[in-house]
């Protein structure tokens, strides 16, 4: 659906790498151009009409994000360069000051590197412990398994809402309830969740949420850090500089601005913020319910066609989003991707930045198809036709 909105889709190309980044609709591209062409001034700076217009557009996106994730206050929405930066700010700006030696952080083996490495640094720096919530037979997180891992040293649970490897959705609401009953904070990596399903931070009672614009039809280089206001107040800015201070006469008298400006030092990615606002409007117009429904239909169609193919080993028969991970018998995943590329089909091969997953799934690399609402049954037919011919794959992979 909505294929006509995406300039790339008029080309002869089948794009199935949406978990890496989504395509951008024309309206988002136009909106960013509008900024660069019509009011390319700085934000929060000038006392003239152009700059005022920038401020309006910029803050309008904040309002759109607030509504999109149902945050309570506008100040809880901070613009960052993406999920990675948001997660690093959460870990280094908040938890580095809060955690102590031997405190425990629970993650899983299917987390993205950006939700693992910042914690690993605190292991080295503070002597905290990172522990892994075991995954069940389908690589899912169950509440029981979370319960088993909690003890009086557990201070944080930091997990993806939906993973980028398997596409499984975690029971976030149940987890936050359990966590808060035990005085544990919950960080949700929403990079793969926010683009696909309705995330209501109040209802889910999430303490911190991180996500990126580029996976939800928005531009690259822009993302969001959400935090409950009372927690964000204690998040120490990593970046200091222009725009975020009130005064700095000497090192003892530095006064910083209020939230969220305090956490947005320097000239922000203004075009990115404005583009993100347009992307949110675009997704709202289609409706997230429709988006996930379409993804599920497409995925089921693909899975049903892949299952009978003997030389294909599907890693995640079950999944809650549009991700299908698989391997072709005795063919390295990268070679499968190269083969498909010869037919203008874009899929991803690799470990999908979740290097530690191999300890649970037993495979290091997979081919990953990730669908979004604008993919079609015909595209899937094309993919399946190619994948079903083993000899062709082996012949043409080099």
């Amino acid at each position: 659906m909505n294929r006509e909105d995406f300039p790339l889709l008029s080309e002869d190309i089948i794009y199935l790498d949406n978990s890496a980044t989504s395509l951008k609709p024309k309206c988002v591209i136009n909106k960013m151009n509008e900024y660069y062409e019509k009011y390319p001034a700085n934000a929060h700076r000038g006392d003239y009409d152009l700059s005022f217009k920038v401020d309006q557009e910029y803050e309008n996106t904040r309002e759109l994000v607030k509504k999109f994730i149902n945050a309570k206050y506008l100040e809880e929405v901070v613009f960052t360069s993406g999920a990675t930066e948001s997660l690093n700010m959460i870990v280094n700006g908040f938890f580095a000051n809060y955690l102590e030696k031997d405190d425990e952080v629970l993650i899983t083996t299917s987390e993205h590197a950006s939700n693992v490495l910042p914690w690993f640094r605190l292991v080295k720096k503070l002597g905290i412990k990172v522990k892994y919530i075991p995954l069940d037979d389908h690589y899912y997180v169950t509440l029981d398994n979370v319960k088993k891992m909690i003890n009086n040293k557990t201070k944080v649970i930091s997990i993806a809402g939906i993973t980028n490897v398997i596409g499984d959705e975690r029971p976030i609401k149940e987890i936050t309830k359990l966590a808060h009953d035990n005085n544990i904070f919950v960080v949700v990596d929403g990079a793969q969740m926010v683009p696909h399903i309705k995330v209501d931070v109040k209802d889910l009672d999430i303490d911190f949420l991180a996500f990126s614009g580029h996976k939800m039809c928005g531009p690259t280089g822009i993302g969001v850090l959400y935090g409950k206001k009372e927690l964000l107040e204690h998040l120490e800015p990593i970046n200091l500089g222009g725009g975020m201070n009130e005064s700095f006469d000497n090192p003892d008298e530095v006064i910083l601005k209020e939230l969220p400006t305090r956490l947005e030092a320097g000239t922000p990615n203004i075009a990115g913020v404005i583009g993100l606002g347009e992307a949110i409007k675009y997704l709202n117009n289609i409706g997230l319910d429709k988006i996930i429904e379409q993804e599920h239909k497409l995925r089921k169609y693909l899975i049903d066609k892949l299952i009978p193919i003997k030389h294909i080993d599907i890693i995640n028969i079950e999944s809650d989003s549009g991700i299908v991970a698989f391997n072709v018998d005795k063919v390295f995943s990268q070679d499968v991707a190269y083969f498909l590329n010869k037919y203008n089909i874009c899929v991803r091969a690799g470990n999908h930045c979740a290097k530690i997953l191999k300890s649970s799934v037993g495979v290091t690399n997979t081919v990953r198809v990730s669908l979004y609402f604008y993919n079609t049954y015909e595209e899937i037919d094309n993919l399946v036709m190619l994948l079903s011919d083993y000899e062709k794959i082996v012949k043409e992979m080099i």
Binding site: F332, Q334, Y338, A349, T364, N365, V394, I398
Partner: protein, 141 residues
Amino acid sequence: MEEETKRAIIMEHYENPLHRVRKDNEDYIKINTNNSSCIDNLDIYIKFNKDIIEDITFEGEACAISISSTSIMINNLINKTKEEALEYIHNFYDMTNGKEYNEELLKEGNAYHDIYKQGNRKNCATLPYRGIEKAILESLK
């Protein structure tokens, strides 16, 4: 070299790579070589006897192009002097960059003659060469 011959050489060395074994003894130097843009990741083990490359082996996970290229490279470098090996390596780079090179010297390495036309796959073919070159240059220091 005919297209079909090239294919056959690559497939043969991919399906039955030579020297694919891990070496833990101390005579061997281990070097890791990987492609930042993809998932090829190989460990190469190399044993020098003064100026001569006495043995090379490898292990790891990589695509058909990388694995076969490693197998062929090793076959052609064992028993060469370091200088001869560097010459081979540089000829291979020249070939993969679409430049003039000594065809006779490369033997089965010629199977990757057209790889430069496939942008990203050039890095797969040269992956083992970059590793071994580094090891040789280090040993000459």
